[in-house]
């Protein structure tokens, strides 16, 4: 008891920071490996973003590269590739925003509203399965299922008397196919947070709504949806940056030169400039394009955050 008292006192007494650190060095030692990791693998590369302002020499490094200011950005913004990649990035994000994002909310509602426990559980388990399947395998499924010769989708079309379509080379099919693929991969995983939010709604609200004469749909509309609105807003804000930035690993598996007009995003373009440019890697330009994208994503998150703060009082910061 006396010792415990002493412990409390020690915390209240103002001590010099250095003595506090020295007395508790083990806690700082535990922090150290992670801290070093962040400095070496997260922050040091950020310093490397300066490549965007250099005419980077792949063999000589920064020492033999010329500082060229905003020239890389000027080259990108004035090239014909800019409008294509910019529009595609925004459009692919918009498709995700209006289809993939609401789908996981709908799925959560279906899972929680289904009156059969068996169906509810089966739906949740099965829709979560694709989370465990890699982008490579899912892209492989898409490519093989849509094959005009042996793909199951075209086989079904032929059985229904329709002509086979070579989906992967038609630009107009790219966004729908990509969106369906992402929907399949992520809906179950993303729905879990909404299912948790629906479970967390106070049951007395449902009772009150029932007393007021609300039916099943009325309760869904007036209790469930308002109840999960804060979660929806938070997830929307967390995902807007992701919608813009991620996906290039998946897109480069699916797109082909014939579909670049609808599929080539800022990130996939930067990737090609650096790693798939027929031996003429342009790291400086690729770095500038990548930085441009990162800044756009950050601005979108900030704008969405401001809008959400004003409209729904939910915000990230």
């Amino acid at each position: 008891m006396a010792q415990k008292h002493q412990g409390l006192n020690r915390r209240k007494n103002p001590q010099s920071k250095l003595r506090r650190i020295r007395g508790d060095w083990q806690l700082y030692l535990l922090l150290l490996p992670g801290l070093i990791w962040f400095i070496v693998f997260a922050y040091k590369p950020m310093y490397g973003l300066k490549i965007a302002f250099y005419d980077y020499n792949v063999f000589g490094g920064f020492a033999k590269s010329d500082f060229i200011g905003l020239e890389n950005f000027r080259r990108y913004l004035s090239s014909p590739d800019f409008s294509r990649t910019f529009v595609n990035t925004i459009m692919i994000a918009v498709w995700q925003l209006i289809i993939v994002f609401p789908a996981s909310i709908l799925l959560a509602i279906i899972v929680t509203e289904a009156s059969s426990k068996f169906i509810s559980r089966a739906t949740q388990t099965v829709t979560f399965l694709p989370y465990f399947i890699s982008a490579v395998v899912v892209a492989g499924m898409v490519v093989n299922f849509t094959s005009p010769t042996y793909g199951v989708i075209n086989q079904m079309r032929e059985k229904l008397g329709m002509e086979p379509i070579y989906f992967m080379v038609e630009p107009d099919y790219f966004r729908p196919i990509y969106t369906i693929m992402i929907l399949w991969m992520s809906a179950g995983y993303n729905s879990i947070v909404y299912i948790a939010a629906i479970m967390g709604i106070d049951p007395s609200l449902y009772e009150a709504a029932t007393v007021d004469g609300a039916g099943r749909f009325g309760r869904l509309w007036h209790v469930t949806l308002p109840g999960i609105l804060p979660t929806i807003m938070t997830m929307l804000l967390l995902n807007i940056g992701k919608m813009i930035r991620s996906g290039y690993e998946t897109i480069i598996l699916l797109y082909q030169p014939t579909t670049f007009s609808k599929a080539d995003t800022i990130a996939t373009y930067a990737y090609r400039l650096a790693f798939d440019n027929r031996g003429r890697a342009d790291y400086g330009l690729a770095g500038a394009v990548g930085l441009f994208e990162a800044v756009i994503a950050l601005v979108m998150v900030a704008l969405a955050n401001q809008a959400s703060k004003r409209l729904t009082q939910n915000s990230l910061w």
């Binding site: 508790d24 801290l35 070496v40 399947i133 892209a139 809906a187 099943r216 598996l253 990230l316």
Partner: protein, 307 residues
């Protein structure tokens, strides 16, 4: 899952005073039918891979395999395992998964524990340092050049150490450690336990749900990741399974030439081998899912809600 059922019972109870109207019965029926349809459609692609991988190749090519197998055979699996480098890349994936996740957990739990202690000087700054990387990161080219500058290109260390922490998982772990009552640590301190001992003997054993969740997140990423190994590694002997799969089932480099050879024989086509390879890649993850499922969901909502 259990919570969901309990909660449903509560709602059922709330409604028990009333008789279900016809409209409500129709609503119930519709929701159940939609749920069944969603489940079947979601499951079909996995089911198709399964039946196609065990069917006679020409049955798949001709479109006879749609809902059922045709002349079951394991030929496709035999041929898949005979592929050069399949076992090597499978072994590599296993190596990266085991050592990679171990590295992830060491770096993540130690840092998360430290950041979860309010007495840590500079706690806010260090936490901000972690969270900032969730909103802004250097991106593809600077990350690649960083590995190049560290002379880590084409090394296994780049894969294992270079992707040692995900800020998101770190925050999940930190939130969980913060939710453990402070009295637990105070009692240990009174008993003379150091920070190391408090961490290893009290916090780690008490955090099983969160640990299982974070292990799962890391494991799925390690097992399924293809982009960075493809970009950073050169040597085929170091490549993980996903990079080999990309060549075989997405780019299909090997199949084109093989298809030309086999058309004359007409008994074999690479199609079913593609589906067999898919099964070989996904089965370990699908087996692990039910094992960790109950922990996984509990931990996941924790991380997601706290962001």
């Amino acid at each position: 899952m259990k919570d969901l059922e309990k909660r449903k019972k509560k709602i059922e109870h709330a409604k028990s005073g009333m008789v279900q109207s016809t409209g409500e019965k129709v609503y119930d029926l519709c929701i159940n039918i939609i749920a069944v349809l969603v489940t079947l459609i979601t499951f079909y692609p996995i089911y198709y891979i399964l039946i196609a991988s065990f069917s006679r190749p020409l049955g798949v090519d001709n479109g006879d395999v749609i809902f059922t197998m045709v002349e079951p055979t394991v030929e496709a699996y035999k041929r898949a395992f005979r592929l050069p480098n399949l076992w090597i890349s499978y072994g590599n994936t296993f190596f990266y998964a085991v050592f990679g996740v171990a590295m992830n957990m060491i770096l993540t739990t130690t840092m998360a524990f430290s950041l979860s202690r309010k007495r840590l000087v500079g706690r806010k700054f260090f936490t901000l340092m972690v969270v900032f990387t969730m909103w802004f990161n250097a991106g593809l080219i600077p990350t690649y050049l960083n590995f190049s500058q560290l002379h880590m290109l084409d090394t296994r260390a780049a894969i294992i150490v270079g992707f040692g922490i995900s800020a998101y998982n770190l925050i999940i772990m930190k939130s969980f450690f913060e939710s453990i009552p402070e009295e637990m640590e105070e009692a240990a301190t009174v008993d003379g336990a150091s920070s190391f001992r408090t961490f290893f003997q009290i916090f780690i054993p008490m955090s099983k749900p969160a640990l299982a969740t974070v292990v799962m997140f890391y494991l799925v990423n390690r097992w399924n990741g293809y982009f960075w190994p493809m970009t950073l590694l050169r040597d085929d002997m170091k490549m993980p399974l996903q990079v080999l799969l990309k060549k075989l089932i997405v780019d299909q480099v090997a199949n084109e030439t093989e298809a030309a050879i086999v058309t004359s024989a007409s008994t074999w086509s690479p199609t079913t081998r593609i589906y067999a390879l898919m099964m070989i890649a996904i089965v370990p993850m699908l087996v692990i899912y039910p094992v960790l499922q109950k922990y996984f969901k509990a931990g996941m909502t924790l991380g997601a809600v706290k962001g």
